[in-house]
């Protein structure tokens, strides 16, 4: 316990010191992460997709929306790396543009569910009591639904469109964040400098924003990497089922759905689109796995 006769300034210094100790732990985690080869590969894979999304107009050999009736169902060749689709559009170009939509939706979903989940997790963990019980009940309830199924129903009622997909998946998917943040807050609450901050009379809100949130944020960043695969696959599933992004927008999920109709004639449409999804999700999974190991090295001791 901190004795009472030290001054406010000393106490602040104590708090800073204790915080520094924690940040050196963060360094150790970072070191472990960078040593993980698979995580590095994942990092490169995701970088490629991000690069592709940003520079799509430069990389894509054709206009992804330009239809050419004479070029329909051309198999992969030098002119069309991944062939053409039913309207004669270049599949490779569409897939490159698709990375924009995929990342856009993925990031929006993760942000949306992140904001809901982190706030509710913070409130739940910090205040406890009936609020905590209520939020955890809500978590239990939402977790009883398959994410895709509930999001499908919500998106179905809200109507088609990117924004509705984000809303549907966001309202359903925040529970993992809330749980993780809540348990993190519960441990942080017991730390010395929170006690100290309370003893010098900082308000709850100030403590949450100045001391708890920064600590939770590192966990949240890890969560983002862990949740990205779910967000990507779930949004692709909704598009595939015809509820998300609408044609002719170049979206991986709907390209798979379109290609499915011509599976025998032009199998390259569906298959190559799936590879793009797999590549991206695998990249995020590698990163997430590396982060998880770095944070909890006991999970793969010796």
């Amino acid at each position: 316990m901190i004795s009472e006769d030290i001054s406010y300034e000393q106490l602040k210094e104590e708090i800073r010191k204790l915080k520094r100790k924690r940040s050196s732990q963060a360094n150790l985690v970072w070191k472990r992460f960078t040593k993980n080869k698979l995580a590095l590969i994942g990092f490169i894979m995701v970088s490629i997709i991000i690069f592709m999304a940003i520079f799509a107009p430069l990389i894509a050999p054709y206009d992804p929306y330009k239809t050419s009736p004479l070029e329909r169902f051309k198999p992969p060749s030098k002119e069309h790396l991944l062939g053409t689709d039913a309207l004669g559009r270049d599949v490779f170009s569409r897939l490159i543009y698709g990375s924009r939509i995929a990342l856009e939706i993925g990031i929006l979903i993760v942000l949306f569910e992140g904001i809901i989940g982190i706030s509710l997790g913070l409130v739940s963990g910090y205040f406890g009591g009936i609020v905590d019980k209520l939020i955890m009940w809500l978590v239990d309830v939402l977790r009883s639904f398959p994410i895709v199924v509930l999001a499908l129903a919500i998106a179905g009622v809200l109507g088609q469109g990117i924004l509705n997909v984000v809303i549907a998946l966001g309202t359903v998917g925040w529970t993992s964040y809330a749980r993780m943040v809540r348990s993190k807050v519960l441990t942080i609450k017991e730390l010395e400098y929170i006690e100290a901050a309370k003893s010098i009379g900082e308000s709850n809100l100030a403590i949450i924003f100045r001391h708890v949130l920064p600590n939770v944020l590192s966990t949240a960043i890890v969560m983002v990497c862990l949740m990205m695969p779910t967000a990507l696959i779930a949004s692709a599933t909704l598009s595939f089922l015809g509820l998300g992004v609408q044609p002719p927008t170049a979206d991986w999920g709907s390209i798979i759905a379109e290609g499915r109709r011509y599976l025998l004639k032009a199998p390259w449409i569906s298959t190559s689109a799936g590879f793009f999804i797999m590549f991206t999700v695998l990249g995020f999974n590698f990163i997430g796995d590396g982060l998880r190991d770095a944070l909890d090295p006991t999970s793969r001791r010796n």
Partner: protein
């Protein structure tokens, strides 16, 4: 143990209540008048009024909810606008195929997952272990609908080993079940590996060795059984994911189950059917979790012998 089970039942009831609220509220998320959306833009005012009265949409929300619940308990699940048939009848038809698909898929997934996880733990840091880690991440990075399409293309269209759609014969179940099993085993392989390693590092494993028990016996009688107990809970926890995957797989394989009914109903705004199926699936998940908890308490002597 009684108090443990009682607590679990109570919790399941609370969750079930919440789940029914969510399923009920779905309809009211619709922008504008749900009845008009259901009936389409050319509906006569007369029809709109009739439907509104039938669903009690003119009454306050809590009355609507209570009536809805009451009717469900009476077995009156409403009428499908799309099929113009009672929802109960539709679900009854679709339940069997869905249970077969999800049940066998789950079974395959659990068996494969437990097997891979155990072997990976026993051969820790071997090629097999790394392959297991990699394959689990690989399968979980593939959308199940795409996996279904690829398998369909290879085995159905190209090799023509199995029918490409429907549920006419045993061979038509192979691909859908395989799709679920291959992908979802990844959910069990890693936890099983972790549990197995955890148990193997326990003191009692050392003590067993110290008294001269055979390695095979230590692994299969002690470590495996101890590691399997938490997996029971895992199965129930992963059930929503597996059901979610099965819904889409039903669509790809034109499997006449609840999943394809749900998707069709969502797209045609057949809300009565959507609500009922949502409720049905989520209650099944809640029940499965409760069942797992109770099963757990019977299997684990630490809870069983508790008063």
């Amino acid at each position: 143990m009684k108090s443990y089970i009682l607590r679990r039942i109570l919790r399941a009831l609370f969750t079930a209540f919440g789940v029914s609220l969510v399923a009920f509220m779905i309809l009211h998320l619709a922008p504008g008048d749900p009845v008009k959306i259901m009936l389409g833009p050319y509906a006569t005012e007369e029809n709109v009024q009739a439907l509104r009265a039938r669903y009690n949409l003119d009454k306050p929300l809590h009355i609507q909810y209570l009536t809805w619940i009451k009717n469900i308990f009476k077995g009156e699940l409403g009428t499908s606008i799309r099929y113009n048939r009672p929802v109960g009848e539709l679900i009854k038809e679709r339940l069997g195929p869905t249970l077969i698909l999800t049940g066998s898929g789950l079974l395959v997934a659990v068996i494969l997952g437990v097997l891979f996880g155990t072997l990976a733990a026993l051969k820790k840091n071997s090629i097999l272990d790394y392959l297991t880690t990699f394959q689990t991440m690989f399968w979980l990075s593939i959308p199940s609908f795409w996996l279904a399409i690829v398998l369909l293309y290879i085995f159905g269209l190209k090799l023509r080993w199995v029918p490409i759609a429907g549920m006419t014969s045993f061979s038509s179940t192979i691909l859908p079940v395989l799709t679920i099993g291959l992908r979802e085993q990844a959910w069990f392989a890693r936890p099983m590996r972790a549990e197995m390693l955890e148990v193997l590092s326990q003191n009692y494993i050392k003590a067993l060795k110290a008294k001269g028990v055979k390695y095979e016996k230590i692994v299969w009688k002690h470590a495996f059984k101890n590691a399997l107990i938490p997996i029971i809970t895992m199965i129930a926890l992963q059930l929503p994911w597996i059901i979610g995957g099965a819904v889409v797989i039903e669509v790809v394989f034109s499997w006449g189950g609840m999943g394809s009914l749900l998707v069709g109903s969502v797209l045609s705004r057949d809300y009565q059917v959507v609500q009922t199926i949502l409720l049905f699936i989520s209650i099944a998940v809640v029940a499965a979790n409760l069942l797992a908890d109770i099963l757990y308490s019977f299997i684990d002597p630490r809870i069983r012998t508790e008063r």
